[in-house]
């Protein structure tokens, strides 16, 4: 058994951490938070693209580095630690993974090299309304090669050049009628309107589609199946971002508790706070271990992936939500000021626990996959 990252992968982690400490400090995160005109840090994006991060897990023949998913997990954790304000997840965890899994060779050649180089950005549009996306609330329609409908919220939609759109290819909406289509943002029928989010460093928008030209991705009618699979893959990657962010939340809580004195001693010497931080640590370690298992399933194409991904997703979402919320608590009054950084993590953790489906939904996925495994 070797349940750890390799030395090369750890080296990559160290390099990524150093790079982001330098190029993605809190000031640059805040510059995106506080500027309504900016959706992401374009300088940072071009630098991480030059480093090849965007192409990490894209095969060489399509312009990537051809490394594995484990390397991508390592990078994800560092992006999470740094609160990197980039469309990396939408473009790499989701758009690129859809193309890698379901694109024709022609589609891969057309899209992946631009995604790998970072010069183009992709995203995915599924949700249309409040609550869990499902057949009865997906109204976007594909007819005679054109898409019509409205998607909301779409992560990184404003920055995207390409969008994968989930739409019904049949007049009935059911589990076998959903198909996926790739559209080009420059089509005049694509109307983007910005939405404010709980974490403005991770933007979203509404995408209205009026007779937009498109090409189908994957088999007709197998949309939900493809989405399940790609969300499972993305869930593992996000779980590393979440573990990264949760760890920094704990580290900063600890640091503050050692600097701040009350009643004549460091507040970190009070058991009420020590025990709280011990609980943060426990949740983070469990999440990290579940994420590792997800990484193993992802990198080996194991049929355990649906269970491993859901376990990683739930564990990491809960750990990050808890760590970021208790980090504010440990900071006391300054914890809820704009000036202190606690809220950056509080925002990011909640957003990450919603963006590819809620904790509630993933718990349901977990149990239903465990039921299926039992029957098999």
């Amino acid at each position: 058994m070797n349940f750890d990252f390799s030395d090369d992968q750890k080296l990559l982690r160290d390099q990524a951490r150093k790079f982001l400490q330098d190029k993605c400090d809190r000031k640059s995160v805040r510059s995106i938070l506080e500027d309504n005109q900016k959706n992401y840090d374009a300088d940072l994006w071009s630098q991480i693209s030059e480093l090849g991060w965007t192409g990490t897990a894209i095969p060489e023949e399509y312009g990537g580095l051809g490394l594995g998913m484990l390397e991508l997990c390592v990078i994800a954790e560092e992006l999470g630690r740094a609160l990197a304000p980039t469309p990396f997840s939408s473009s790499i965890y989701i758009f690129a993974e859809f193309l890698k899994s379901y694109g024709t060779d022609e589609q891969k050649k057309k899209y992946l090299p631009h995604i790998a180089s970072g010069e183009k950005i992709g995203t995915f549009a599924l949700s249309e309304t409040n609550g869990k996306p499902k057949p009865n609330n997906i109204k976007t329609q594909h007819t005679s090669g054109k898409l019509n409908g409205s998607k909301n919220p779409v992560s990184d939609g404003e920055s995207a050049d390409y969008i994968i759109v989930a739409a019904n290819s049949d007049s009935n909406s059911n589990y076998n009628s959903l198909s996926l289509f790739i559209i080009d943002r420059s089509d005049p029928g694509v109307i983007i309107s910005n939405l404010d989010t709980i974490d403005p460093t991770r933007p979203a928008c509404t995408v209205d589609l009026e007779n937009v030209a498109c090409e189908r991705l994957g088999d007709e009618g197998s949309g939900w199946e493809m989405i399940d699979n790609i969300f499972n893959r993305a869930a593992v990657l996000f779980s590393f971002e979440q573990v990264g962010g949760a760890q920094v939340s704990l580290d900063e809580a600890k640091k503050y508790s050692l600097e701040r004195f009350a009643f004549g001693k460091q507040i970190g010497a009070f058991q009420a706070l020590k025990h709280k931080m011990a609980d943060m640590y426990v949740k983070i370690e469990l999440a990290r271990s579940n994420a590792y298992y997800g990484a193993w399933a992802l990198s080996t194409d194991s049929n355990e992936l649906p269970i491993a991904a859901a376990g990683a997703r739930v564990s990491a979402s809960e750990a990050y939500n808890y760590a970021s919320q208790e980090n504010i608590q440990i900071h006391g009054g300054v914890g809820f000021t704009w000036e202190y950084d606690c809220h950056l993590f509080y925002r990011r953790s909640k957003l990450l626990s919603l963006n590819i489906g809620s904790i509630r939904q993933w718990k349901e996925n977990l149990i239903s996959n465990l039921e299926k495994r039992n029957i098999v």
Binding site: Q271, M277, S315, E318, E364, I367, L370
Partner: protein, 427 residues
């Protein structure tokens, strides 16, 4: 990153499997019993349900000894011990492999865990050669059972607060006082004991470590009946118990240092208590009816079970990470202390919730209970004890906060004064 055995490990696993298949009986998920009422698995499990009370306990002990002998003959009884003392001379990974495989079988090794896991390694580190030769091989085969005489009525979480007197009289020591929570003292052949040899020294400096024959005159073990109704622990009274100085382990006054060797090994030995878990409530939820049908189909039940699943598997994978570190020659850190902290509360939550699902039938706790075999009733009682035994939740949180996170130690008033001047609430 992979879970594959190396060729060497695969070979070992094959050996273990064929040994277990030939010698032990497999168990089903719902037959999994919570372990006994201590961190170790001493219970009447293994005895047929028709045999009760003392007879059942005797029979269980006899079965366990037979099993231990088979394990020892096959070389699997003490995988980490060196061969010279009858061990396997194996690696931590091999120990994990053995535990994984044995977990699926209905066998009991709990009687020997304290000796092999904690006391044996202490003797190896601090004991005299003739003692090692005399005692260690019989510890492995189960011929002699050992108990650990550490805790006292006023030394629980604060273990160094030991008051048991050890007074030197020529070449002998005279022991007077009381120990408590001693697993297996009523059937153990030998025990290891820490006592206060100098009450005027600082608390951690005035202790000395010994081993004793439990049949020495003046030693009396009285079982303590627990919340579960069973009695796996004892109070042990020492009344003018005379032992030769040759039974001292380590130097006079070094008792605390020697104890730390025992306690360090405790974390490895009892750090992985199996028992009532996600798998049991998941299986049970397919049999229990709630307001809208089977419990397993109820959304609230599913949400709860998902939380227990991630805790359960999170711990399992954490252990894999620790073991990976071990097999690379790194020491496992105190991060292993999260295991019992999470497991005990999870078991309490799982059992309490399962009893709630069972509705009125959850009230029943009688022998041969046809409904789920008392699984959750037993867990309900056992888990309350488990949150305390072997380090309370609160002590474990302190350990994590101080040793892992490096937060300040609690302020203490007992480090600078001689032991006999410390406030005890009794002076």
């Amino acid at each position: 990153m992979d879970f594959n055995d190396t060729p060497q490990e695969a070979e070992f696993r094959k050996k273990v499997r064929s040994f277990l298949e030939a010698n032990a009986e497999k168990r089903s998920t719902l037959a999994a019993k919570p372990k006994g009422d201590s961190g170790s698995s001493i219970s009447s499990a293994g005895a047929p349900e028709t045999v009760k009370g003392e007879d059942a306990a005797k029979l269980a002990l006899q079965n366990a000894k037979e099993w231990q002998r088979k394990k020892a003959d096959a070389g699997f009884a003490a995988i980490l011990w060196p061969k010279e003392f009858g061990g396997y001379g194996g690696t931590p990974i091999e120990q994990v492999i053995y535990a994984q495989e044995e977990h699926d079988y209905f066998v009991h090794s709990g009687y020997f865990e304290i000796g092999i896991g904690m006391l044996g390694p202490t003797m190896m580190a601090w004991g005299k050669d003739e003692d090692k030769k005399r005692f260690l091989p019989k510890m492995i085969t189960g011929e002699e059972i050992w108990c650990q005489l550490f805790s006292e009525p006023s030394a629980g979480s604060d273990l160094a607060g030991i008051r048991m007197k050890a007074e030197k009289d020529g070449d002998e020591w005279v022991l007077n006082g009381q120990k408590v929570w001693t697993s297996g003292a009523h059937f153990a052949d030998y025990g290891m004991i820490v006592a206060r040899s100098d009450p005027t020294a600082l608390k951690h400096k005035g202790l000395t470590y010994f081993y004793v024959d439990m049949k020495t005159p003046g030693i009396e073990a009285k079982p303590i009946k627990q919340i579960s109704g069973s009695a796996n622990f004892n109070e042990v009274f020492f009344n003018d118990v005379r032992i030769p100085d040759s039974q001292r382990i380590g130097a006079e006054g070094d008792g605390w240092k020697v104890s730390l060797t025992t306690l360090m090994n405790e974390r490895l030995a009892v750090g992985d208590p199996p028992g009532l878990d996600f798998d049991q409530i998941f299986e049970a939820s397919k049999e229990i009816e709630v307001e809208d049908g089977l419990a397993v189909k109820n959304s609230e039940v599913r949400q709860k079970m998902a939380d227990w699943y991630i805790q359960s598997r999170g711990l399992q994978y954490t252990k894999y990470r620790s073991m990976t570190a071990l097999s690379k020659g790194q020491t496992p850190g105190p991060e292993l202390s999260i295991s019992k902290l999470v497991t005990a509360s999870k078991m309490q939550d799982v059992s309490s919730y399962a009893l709630d699902l069972m509705d009125m039938s959850g009230m029943v706790h009688q022998d041969k209970n046809p409904i789920l075999k008392n699984l959750f009733q037993n867990g309900y009682f056992f888990s309350a004890a488990m949150r305390i035994a072997g380090g309370t939740d609160e002590v474990l949180r302190n350990i994590i906060a101080e040793r892992v996170l490096g937060l300040p130690q609690d302020e203490r008033s007992d480090k600078k004064l001689p032991f006999n001047e410390l406030p005890s609430g009794k002076n």
